[in-house]
Symmetry: C2
DNA sequence: CTCGGCAAAATTGTATATTATTTGAAGGAC
DNA sequence: GTCCTTCAAATAATATACAATTTTGCCGAG
């Protein structure tokens, strides 16, 4: 999405706070976010709170019903799989285009990001891995040469962030993920569009599955049904 | 996007009014939408106006800069092509999935919509064609079996609406478009995923080109550059 | 005992006032 | 003369007050 949004504004801050609370499982699905209660809780007025609701609605986390209020809408498992499928397809397409158009300079940066992932992995630094991983993927979006596609993919990634956060630390997914990065890099270097698209599709799609496993262990109440 | 938005609310109304004005070429690209002036013009307070700005930002028509205001961001021609490319790819994917999953009942409805297009064409009723055409495409989104993909595709269609409105009446695009519908329907009936994806991709992509032709003739000032 | 309507309470939507931030220009220092 | 600082004006962000809408509970009629 093309929003040059406020970053340190009250509404943005409140949006992130509520997002975090949703992630922590504070709210059941379908619950109404009470304006009065939340404005008291966060010590803000209702105006920025309502703007935060709109941001959350844009993220698909709440539904705004006129004269009724803002209701938490956690995705069902089916829906989450659908979302990861779309994400996988978009990233695969980015990779396919990137294979055709990527420059040597971009390949160099991509290799640096891949090495950054490897370093973080050797240090068992999941936070750093998360950062470098994000950079790796973003570089591919950029290399696609379609700025709009890059933005939309970034946006969907943001929307799925909530459901990807902890999964990198699940099992040996980190190691597998990094090996896939190497393969992706190799295929981009030889400009194999079909090949890299296929690897990327699997690379993303597996996250939906991993998430589901993780979910069963830890937070059975987070999703609907 | 998953917004069960207000429909008859002031903010929604204002959003549509501004969208219309943008479509009419009232605003140059990069111009700031003055809160005070617009609230006077539409006789509404600044609160719903600001909510309308957020909706327009979600549509990608304006950019919100903190403490600066809302600035009109008309897409450049390059960007519009990028957007139509993404749209083409998403519709193609919808069609590919639909080819695998479509039911006989859905095929029946699709055929009805195609016939509706034909009828409208024979009556030279572009408005009716527009409606039936939208239905035809939406049925394919639904038949994809991926609800999230269907929503996102619908959403992008909405964002591109402004740049597609008059183009159906351009040249004999209407006739060509209908022939493509027939072909799409035929390929869906024989469940040819690759085939229907390819036809659909071209069917959408051509719109970007058609738009550009139309633009040169009528509104050279509507896009950037 | 149940169903329908009315009324009051709760809650969202809108308007206005206040505060904080930014920007641009003016004035002084180097 | 140029650059930096500062102050004022403009304007977005927030708070609060008000209006409109919806929901719910109560009362009465059937």
């Amino acid at each position: 999405m093309t929003i040059g949004d406020a970053n340190s504004s009250t509404s943005e801050r409140v949006c992130q706070l509520i997002e975090q609370e949703i992630a922590e499982g504070v709210y059941e699905d379908g619950i109404r976010l009470d304006e009065a209660r939340l404005s008291a809780q966060f010590s803000v007025s209702r105006t920025p709170l309502r703007e935060a609701f709109r941001m959350l609605a844009a993220l698909g986390l709440v539904e705004l019903i006129p004269h009724r209020g803002a209701f938490v809408r956690l995705p069902s498992f089916t829906r989450l799989v659908d979302m990861f499928d779309v994400m996988a397809e978009m990233e695969a397409w980015c990779a396919r285009l990137a294979a055709q158009r990527i420059t040597n300079a971009q390949l160099l940066m991509l290799r640096a990001a891949a090495n950054g992932c490897a370093d973080a992995l050797s240090r068992n630094d999941t936070a750093a891995y998360y950062e470098e991983n994000a950079l790796f993927h973003d570089l591919i979006y950029q290399a696609s040469g379609n700025a709009f596609l890059a933005e939309e993919t970034r946006n969907l990634q943001r929307r799925l962030r909530l459901f990807r956060k902890e999964q990198l630390s699940h099992g040996d997914r980190l190691t597998a993920s990094m090996q896939e990065h190497s393969e992706i890099l190799r295929l981009l270097e030889i400009h194999d569009g079909d090949g890299v698209a296929e690897v990327m599709r699997k690379h993303i799609r597996v996250q939906g599955v991993v998430y589901e496993e993780m979910l069963r262990e830890r937070k059975p109440g987070m999703l609907r049904q």
